[in-house]
């Protein structure tokens, strides 16, 4: 069953019609703007924000600057991206800490938005930054919320202050106040106050939240918002802004397939920064919020900017040329391969890297199934070889292979497979270097990418690039760079609706 495409798919299809045209007419722009409007609405961006956003895009797209440009379509993408980034907050935002500890951070939000889980994540995060946080259990409403926070505090390895059992008993304002006092006495430098979830329309509970705030004068009041929220984001955000006047926003459940329109809505309407992105159920799944990345993620044009930046930082031109030479002259060794792997590694996790590729949305599952450890295993095997063996794999006889297997904690079969895959990959790279188009199975032959039984077969991934130019031909690893897309053979491209 085909539902609507994602915002990025929508925008991509809206913009791809522009890509084929030379210059933009008012009709072109209007058509595109309509598509963008629809896509944004499908992404749950609030109607008011959609209206002002599309208005701006239209104005800028029709301005002279664009029409005189060489590639108008690219510029529209640029405009959309720039406007997205601008609404999302420009620069990255950080927590502000009190000059005189303890820093008090209060959490507020709707029921089920993920406050308690976030409280644990924040505590763990702050602890890893050298702070000494204490969690204060002020959700005395939801059954066993206090127990939940206690368990989470234990998991995060931080202190909890929970004098009241909850389940409707106890006064949250008093608990919050005592919590800050407790932190001062025991010299904890951060206090995280978990409060009960409440609806924006519930005046009584909003007043209670305000009392908690007034009693503790927090340095940060974080509004926790579910990324899956719809048009109600606006109403809720406004109500909480009027109610407790939050200083920052936390977007949760971003590990799902929600299009994250709420991020745009909240930024567009409250002017408060989004501070954290919460991306999973484990207490480590917390990231700072990067507006530019979010904009790119929404557009699904891939996090190209980051990718380029990282690639440039880590790929040394000379090294790359040396490798290219080696491949062409057939002297590419396991040692070179190890170095290549490490360079790719420096760019971040393979998963993260793949996730940033344009069109990655289509292959999320394959990426999820990619086993980062495969690279570790490959590295372990190569590291167990002597320099001579790395240079000349032909040396590897049975007893050497047994020694390597023992040294790396793998089996002889694993070692054999690596050698076979390395040889075929080297052959393949040589072919590529000679300019023969890459086959669909090329990916398979990369060492460190052994097909595993439970995994979606990697062979379904086809690497489709811009026609290889001279540089690319000699630098196969650069095929991971922008300008190409990875498509999955098994998933037919959906026709734009």
């Amino acid at each position: 069953m085909v539902v609507f495409g994602t915002l990025s798919e929508k925008l991509t299809s809206a913009l791809s019609s522009l890509r084929t045209k030379g210059k933009l007419s008012a009709a072109d722009v209007d058509g595109t703007v309509r598509e963008i409007r629809r896509a944004l609405l499908d992404a749950d961006v609030s109607l008011d924000v959609v209206k002002s956003f599309t208005g701006k895009i239209r104005d800028r797209a029709l301005s002279d600057d664009v029409n005189k440009a060489l590639n108008p379509a690219q510029q529209v993408v640029q405009i959309v991206n720039e406007e997205l980034v601008e609404i999302l907050g420009g620069a990255q935002s950080q927590l502000s800490f009190a000059k005189k500890p303890p820093t008090v951070i209060m959490l507020a939000g709707l029921q089920g938005s993920g406050k308690t889980t976030f409280a644990g994540k924040l505590a763990k995060y702050l602890k890893s930054q050298g702070h000494t946080p204490v969690l204060v259990a002020c959700d005395l409403q939801r059954p066993n919320a206090v127990t939940q926070l206690t368990v989470i505090a234990e998991q995060a390895g931080v202190q909890i202050f929970a004098p009241e059992p909850g389940n409707g008993k106890g006064n949250p304002v008093a608990v919050a106040k005592d919590g800050v006092k407790y932190a001062k006495q025991k010299l904890y430098d951060t206090v995280i106050i978990d409060t009960a979830g409440r609806l924006g329309v519930d005046e009584d509970l909003m007043r209670e939240a305000r009392s908690v705030r007034d009693a503790t004068s927090p340095d940060e009041v974080l509004f926790v918002l579910d990324a899956m929220i719809g048009q109600d984001a606006v109403v809720t955000a406004k109500a909480f802004q009027d109610g407790v006047d939050f200083t920052g926003v936390v977007l949760t459940k971003l590990d799902g397939d929600a299009r994250g329109g709420a991020a745009l809505s909240v930024r567009g309407l409250t002017d408060r920064p989004i501070v954290f992105a919460s991306t999973g159920e484990s207490l480590d799944a917390l990231e700072p919020f990067y507006p530019d990345r979010m904009a790119s993620r929404i557009l699904d044009l891939g996090d190209i900017l980051t990718l380029i930046e990282q690639a440039q930082k880590n790929f040394d031109e000379d090294d790359a040329n040396k490798v290219a030479e080696k491949i062409q002259s057939n002297t590419f060794t396991l040692q070179d391969f190890l170095e290549q792997l490490q360079q790719v590694r420096k760019m971040g996790s393979m998963k993260g890297l793949l996730g940033m590729m344009p069109g990655a949305g289509k292959m999320r599952e394959q990426i999820d199934n990619f086993d980062e450890k495969d690279i570790d295993r490959t590295e372990a095997i190569i590291r167990s070889m002597t320099p001579a063996e790395r240079e000349t794999p032909k040396l590897l006889n049975g007893s050497r292979r047994l020694r390597i297997a023992k040294g790396s904690g793998m089996t002889v079969t694993d070692v054999n497979q690596l050698v076979i895959r390395f040889e075929s990959a080297a052959k393949m790279m040589k072919t590529v270097a000679k300019g023969v188009p890459q086959t669909s199975r090329a990916w398979d032959r990369f060492p460190g990418h052994a097909p595993r039984a439970k995994r979606s077969p990697p062979k379904r991934l086809r690497v489709r690039g811009t026609p290889p130019n001279a540089r690319q031909r000699t630098r196969p690893f650069n095929r991971l760079l922008p300008g190409m897309e990875i498509v999955s053979d098994s998933v037919p491209n959906r026709p734009p609706k």
């Binding site: 069953m1 539902v3 609507f4 629809r38 609405l41 499908d42 992404a43 749950d44 609030s46 109607l47 709707l110 029921q111 089920g112 938005s113 993920g114 409403q141 939801r142 059954p143 066993n144 919320a145 127990t147 939940q148 926070l149 206690t150 368990v151 989470i152 998991q155 389940n167 609806l199 924006g200 329309v201 579910d226 899956m228 929220i229 719809g230 048009q231 109600d232 984001a233 606006v234 109403v235 809720t236 406004k238 109500a239 009027d242 459940k253 590990d255 799902g256 397939d257 929600a258 299009r259 329109g261 709420a262 159920e281 999320r364 599952e365 999820d368």
Partner: protein, 291 residues
């Protein structure tokens, strides 16, 4: 004061007067703001147009009446009846699923009470063995509802095992209705979705499942569709529960969800009290939207 849908509709329909082009635009905005989504909004407006355009004169009261009829008609296409027939030794098993934080456990508490007050013997199974203190939370609700509960024998026990034990106990002890809580899971996590399929499989070894209820949060936007599709595919959802309708969200996305998946809304939650759960009545739902 915050924007509210009923106010928007009210201002749109305040006092009967001739319909102006602006009213159509406002109507569109209002539907979009109620999370109907662009596609259903277009369809609804088209349907209203089709009826409205034949009448020579049209005032705003007519427009409102026609809109109500169009919306109700779309909802009436689905049967909101719960199938909870049981016979001795064969309890009706209800599996409750959904993403994190939509209100599954709360819904189960209310639902257990809802059924228990109608004279049925209810047993709830705490198969959310993942989230911290979820079992305790359900136990509190079970106590409030005055129903029995089966808890995991140890922390982090396989949820399928808990579900199975719950059903077994219901068969032995003669409970008529079994409600099984499951951990919240994002519909995109294939491993966790497989786990649901396993729970279902294991339970059905002993008793067929009567209902798989997917809990949807009314504040959700168009992502509700993705959720419904994934849970339908992986867990064979038979009914929807729309929660948190007591807030400012109106849950307009259920129109699209019902029509796309064919799964009817069967229950509606509107508050944190144990009695704040009702059956789904299209007429009432539409009235709440428009009034």
């Amino acid at each position: 004061m915050a924007w509210s849908l009923s106010k928007a509709f009210k201002s749109l329909f305040a006092g009967a007067r001739q319909v102006e082009p602006q009213d159509w635009e406002n109507l569109e905005d209002t539907l979009l703001q109620a999370d109907f989504g662009p596609r259903v909004t277009d369809e609804v407006i088209e349907a209203v147009h089709a009826i409205a355009d034949v009448s020579a004169t049209l005032d705003t009261d007519d427009l409102r009446r026609i809109l109500g009829e169009v919306l109700e008609e779309r909802l009436d296409a689905f049967d909101p009846t719960l199938s909870l027939a049981s016979e001795p030794g064969k309890p009706a098993v209800v599996l409750v699923v959904g993403v994190n934080g939509v209100g599954k456990t709360t819904t189960i508490g209310k639902f257990a009470k809802f059924i228990a007050t109608r004279g049925k013997r209810v047993l709830v199974g705490a198969a959310d063995t993942f989230r911290a203190a979820a079992v305790d939370q359900l136990a509190t609700w079970a106590e409030r509802a005055g129903v029995d509960i089966v808890k995991p024998q140890q922390d982090g026990q396989d949820p399928a095992a808990v579900a199975f034990q719950t059903v077994e106990r219901a068969v032995t002890d003669g409970h008529e209705i079994v409600i099984i809580d499951t951990a919240g899971r994002l519909h995109t996590k294939s491993g966790l979705m497989d786990e649901l399929a396993k729970i279902k499989r294991v339970v059905e070894k002993s008793v067929p499942i009567a209902e798989v209820l997917l809990v949807l949060d009314a504040t959700t936007g168009q992502n509700g569709l993705n959720q419904a599709e994934a849970f339908l595919e992986q867990a064979g959802v038979t009914g929807l529960v729309l929660t948190k309708l007591d807030g400012s969200a109106r849950g307009g996305f259920v129109f699209a969800v019902q029509e796309l998946t064919g799964i009817p809304v069967k229950l509606v939650g509107q508050g944190e009290g144990i009695d704040d759960l009702t059956g789904f009545t299209p007429h009432v739902f539409v009235r709440q939207l428009l009034d």
